[in-house]
């Protein structure tokens, strides 16, 4: 079962991912498509990986 701590942590990770994605959007607008793609990949991983560790590996 998810505790309130987990939810807070996921919320924090989502904030960090949003900030990272906004840097990706800025890079995309400067015509650096591949750089922006890599930043979006980091933004997705920063949420997906810790959530996987928290929810699946700890169990």
């Amino acid at each position: 079962m998810m505790s309130i701590g987990y939810i807070a942590l996921i919320g924090l990770l989502l904030c960090i991912a949003t900030y990272t994605a906004s840097f990706g959007v800025w890079t995309w607008k400067r015509k650096n498509r591949f750089g922006a793609f890599m930043i979006f990949l980091v933004a997705v991983t920063v949420v997906a990986l810790p959530v996987y560790i928290l929810l699946f590996r700890e169990a």
């Binding site: 990770l13 960090i16 991912a17 900030y19 990272t20 840097f23 890079t27 400067r30 650096n32 591949f34 750089g35 890599m38 930043i39 980091v42 933004a43 991983t45 920063v46 990986l49 810790p50 996987y52 560790i53 590996r57």
Partner: protein, 372 residues
């Protein structure tokens, strides 16, 4: 105008030395004993010579590319694709180094002094350090190395000197240990223990002059290999083979033996201090270089927005292996057997390709790359 960071020979040597000899505090002496048996010291000297020979070849090829780092050379050799591919390879090497060492240091720290703390708590200290280091940048890190690395070196040498009473040269017999083929043929791939020399080729743009890069490489390789050989020599003379194979943290166990009269006991506290300092510097520099490579390979304008997300990814990745033994297996069996490919073979290949292009463009009247 943005100020260009340039640092000197000593700062760069301190960074490379620390990156290479951090292994002393982890598992290098034991790994050397596993490879060479009682001849572990011969094995340590042998791989040091191989690393110096490898660097000699690379530095000779590097001469026309003064002030250019490996990513620039890759771009010259194979264009944007080359830069991105080499960027991925470097990111993998540095990423593995950071992730594996963070886990190993934290597990060992937990084993020795923070026995009841959860692993995530121990790792949090490393994350705080690497985030801070990355925010301050390479100039601050290089100055910190120039100051702290001599302290670490003195601490390490004090431990080695303190263990003199426990040395038994008879433990070095039989002289050729596990045999010539185990040392000189199978052991050759362990030159990967010097794969951190790759970092020097990333720092080339901060060193500016070719001569500085060359002397930095030789100084750091020679000094680091002297310390690695000393650590192996002391460890294998203090603990007889094969019981030395059972020791998890070799230099810590050497330090625990030291008792110099009534007042100089529990020298392992010195070990803990230098070990923590060395490991924090190792991880921080590696992490900064991950950001540097990411920025340069993918042509980003800034790296600072990536500090927090990449530090979280590094910390999460370090939790992926199920236990300490799994990390050590990957580190020793895979990474430390094959990392000579990106550290020595890849730069040689890239430099040969870039030189060929350089020659062709010179013949056709082009002027790139700059041969200054």
């Amino acid at each position: 105008m943005k100020k260009k960071t340039i640092f000197g020979h000593w700062e760069a040597s301190a960074i490379i030395m620390n990156l290479i000899y951090t292994k002393i505090f982890l598992n290098f002496p034991r790994m050397a004993v596993e490879e060479g048996g009682t001849a572990a010291w011969i094995f340590a000297i042998y791989i040091a010579i191989l690393a110096i020979l490898g660097f000699t070849v690379i530095q000779k090829l590097y001469k026309p590319f003064e002030g250019k780092d490996l990513l620039d050379v890759a771009e010259l050799a194979a264009g944007n694709i080359g830069r991105i591919l080499v960027g991925f390879v470097i990111l993998f090497c540095l990423g593995w180094g950071t992730v594996a060492y963070m886990r190993m240091f934290s597990e060992n720290m937990k084993l020795i002094s923070l026995t009841t703390s959860p692993l995530s708590y121990v790792e949090l200290y490393f994350v705080v350090c690497l985030v801070t280091g990355a925010y301050f940048g390479i100039e601050a890190l290089s100055r910190l190395h120039a100051f702290v690395v001599p302290v670490i070196t003195v601490g390490f040498l004090l431990i080695m000197l303190g263990a003199v009473n426990y040395i038994d040269p008879g433990n070095l017999m039989p002289l050729l240990g596990n045999g010539l083929s185990a040392i000189f043929i199978k052991g050759a791939q362990k030159v990967s223990d010097y794969s951190e020399i790759l970092v020097l080729f990333l720092l080339a743009s901060f060193l500016k002059k070719y001569e500085v890069m060359k002397s930095t490489g030789y100084w750091s390789l020679v000094l680091a290999s002297v310390f690695l050989v000393i650590s192996v020599l002391v460890f294998s003379t203090v603990f007889p083979y094969p019981s030395s194979l059972e020791i998890t943290i070799p230099i810590f166990h050497v330090a625990r033996l030291i008792k110099l009269g009534r007042f100089f006991q529990r020298v392992e506290s010195v070990f803990l201090f230098i070990w923590a300092a060395s490991s924090l510097l190792y991880i921080t520099v590696n992490f900064y270089l991950i950001l540097f490579t990411f920025q340069k390979a993918f042509r980003l304008d800034y790296y600072k927005p990536l500090i927090i997300p990449l530090s979280i990814i590094v910390m999460s990745l370090s939790f992926l292996p199920s236990d300490f033994a799994e990390v050590v297996t990957y580190e020793v069996e895979l990474f430390r057997s094959w990392s000579w490919v990106p550290a020595f073979a890849m730069p040689i290949l890239l430099l040969i390709l870039a030189r060929r292009k350089h020659r062709k463009s010179a013949e056709s009247g082009g002027n790139e790359p700059q041969d200054s």
